[in-house]
Point group: C2
Chain length 395, copies 2
């Protein structure tokens, strides 16, 4: 193994005189002016042999992983410690670890893109770490240092940049996640955790470009309810969704559209995406009510629409209202938004045995424009007026 | 390591001539009459050195594990295979394993008791494996062979019988669980699983005998909702419950009482137990509505009450009805039921800032009789008219 230490000084952003007062392993307690800081360096252990890279033209989602991963541990009383980039490897955990029994875990999903000029960039990554901490709050998991985690991610992506596929629409999927590792069968928050980041090269979500999908409105199963964990990006929400997805996929539907868990009337999300409707020129999306995920793509779409001067509104929407708009001919477009597909046009919505064919089953004008603009920004092809992209390896 | 093979023929319960047609490793394909059977033997690898047993008088819950555990794997196309008892050891899993990201997992909890005569017995263990499969259905996990799993459990407990503590109220807690192990980041049921059973010696739930607890009615957080996973014993329900428990325990409450996720009016469960109320001589418990766990102790309590000729009814109960009964002086008793505490009397119920003191904060007559009878049956001290206990090592 090649051992290499990369010194990373998170909290040092002034030119003031710095005194190191304690230094052991990769933790440094320092003073800067009148502040005392704990500075951690990320230890890097590079893999001796590298795996063969896959063919970028034939990539699936989430089956191939890169040569390295990031890890950091947490222990009550000690906080987060031992940040390290190591060869991608199996985890060794006690069978009584809380993650296996009580699902105390949160995760995020984002991507690294390569531009035509060969630059590596991320799309609003700070939003993902902000949301990770929001999820942590709901799951009783200690906060992470968002800035430190982002720097760790950038360092990992920089090491793995040759893994970013260059084919049209491909990217490097990034999965940060935290798991509760204490071996304890009592139902209580863990006193030990692991924060990890793993990377997976992924193909274009739509192999033949953006393409409308068929969605079934779910009337039986519920993904989340107000007071539950719907707003958190946590395992249990996805476990709860598996059955509904299994049932509808047998009938050729790509995803389900989730209604609220209380009245089963109001629209929440579609599959693992947020959802938008264009009715009579106005673009509407369900308001964040506490059981809907605060999508980064959702927020970007709202900002873009406003930037273009288009009317966009966040409010409660009943499924019946969508059906009425369809009947009256004012339902012009529908689309999902998420990291995986970016924009996923909905060509058909099936509710109570009735098929609503939207925009003749074709991709709508707004859906297309949003897709082109967002992917354009992500791949550095169009101007980024919002400062959403973050370069990797440039600092 | 001492290698030992224990041959276990699950499906052979006739004296007919048996022909072995295929035999490789520990899988045997056999014919019996006109049936073809797949018979698996449990491979046993005993630990070379045994851990020191803890002091039975000072046992906590779920922190100490025995010398061995049971494991069995599943692969799509192959089914469940390679059942084995091995030394208790860490699990090695890919960081992309579905359990870490989408919480596809189910579990059970039961106990082994030692009688005064030194016999080892289980309490209705077949109900736990039946419920495990019920949970599997909701979580899209393949069924296990309930009878085979029970035999594996009995074999494991037989090997570990010296770990069963003998002090009053102590027992060996048994945790069967299944985790999704396929390394895949797509949201879909795993194609690989592990079924495991681990054992932990546990102390009496109430160190000073049965003792009433203070319970807070939860108005903000929701554990489960109809259409969700509330009826399944799965990680996400417990992850969702952590925050509410953290909040109320700061105010000295032992547990929360969960209301329904839709109207937040109707009583569902208390903490991780089912709940019963005695009002004006009648014993009432929430009906199984799809979001309440089908407790084995709950079912045993209902059967016992009926056996005693006491009126017991399963129906929807509003929290307001409990408060009204309290005001009118007809709320006579309240108690939770579960494997851990068996019967947990509720001495105080706090709802919307109001304290309902039940039976002067003392253990009620029915609660006491149920506790004595159920624990009496479990420890072989009183007659078992229902045939609930299952002996280990007697066959």
């Amino acid at each position: 193994m090649i051992q290499k230490y990369v010194c990373f000084h998170l909290l040092l952003h002034t030119n003031e005189a710095i005194s190191v007062i304690i230094e052991k392993e990769n933790v440094h307690i320092m003073t800067e002016g009148d502040r005392t800081m704990k500075v951690q360096t990320i230890k890097v252990e590079l893999a001796e042999t590298l795996k063969a890279k896959p063919n970028g033209a034939h990539l699936d989602f989430g089956t191939i992983f890169t040569d390295h991963m990031f890890l950091m541990d947490y222990k009550e009383g000690e906080g987060w410690y031992d940040p390290r980039i190591v060869p991608y490897q199996s985890l060794t955990l006690d069978p009584a670890a809380i993650i296996f029994h009580y699902g105390q875990t949160v995760f995020e999903g984002l991507k690294a893109y390569i531009t035509e000029g060969g630059e590596v960039q991320l799309f609003r990554p700070e939003k993902n770490f902000e949301r990770l901490n929001h999820s942590n709050d709901r799951l009783c998991i200690p906060h992470i240092d968002e800035q430190f985690a982002l720097e760790a991610l950038k360092q990992l992506v920089e090491i793995e940049k040759d893994w970013i596929p260059t084919e049209e629409g491909t990217s490097l999927y990034i999965r940060p996640f935290i798991i509760a590792t204490e071996p304890y069968l009592g139902v209580a928050p863990s006193k030990q955790y692991k924060l990890m980041i793993i990377l997976s090269p992924v193909g274009a979500y739509y192999k033949e470009g953006i393409n409308p999908v068929k969605i079934a409105v779910e009337n039986q199963y519920v993904r989340a309810v107000l007071g539950g964990t719907g707003e958190a990006k946590t395992a249990g929400n996805y476990a709860a969704s598996l059955m509904a997805q299994e049932v509808v996929s047998k009938d050729g539907f790509a995803q389900v559209l989730w209604l609220d868990g209380v009245e089963k009337k109001y629209i929440e999300e579609v599959g693992s995406m947020n959802v938008f409707f264009k009715i009579n020129g106005e673009i509407i999306t369900p308001a964040l009510n506490g059981s809907i995920l605060q999508g980064v793509t959702r927020d970007s779409v709202i900002q873009l629409l406003k930037h273009w001067g288009l009317p966009v509104v966040e409010r409660r929407i009943a499924m019946a209202e969508i059906a009425e708009a369809y009947e009256s001919g004012t339902l012009e477009e529908a689309f999902g938004t998420g990291t995986a597909a970016v924009i996923s046009p909905i060509g058909q919505l099936t509710w109570e045995e009735k098929d609503l064919i939207i925009n003749d089953g074709k991709t709508g004008e707004i859906s297309k424009k949003l897709y082109d603009t967002l992917t354009g920004i992500q791949y550095g092809k169009v101007e980024d007026p919002f400062g959403w992209t973050v370069k990797v390896g440039s600092n």
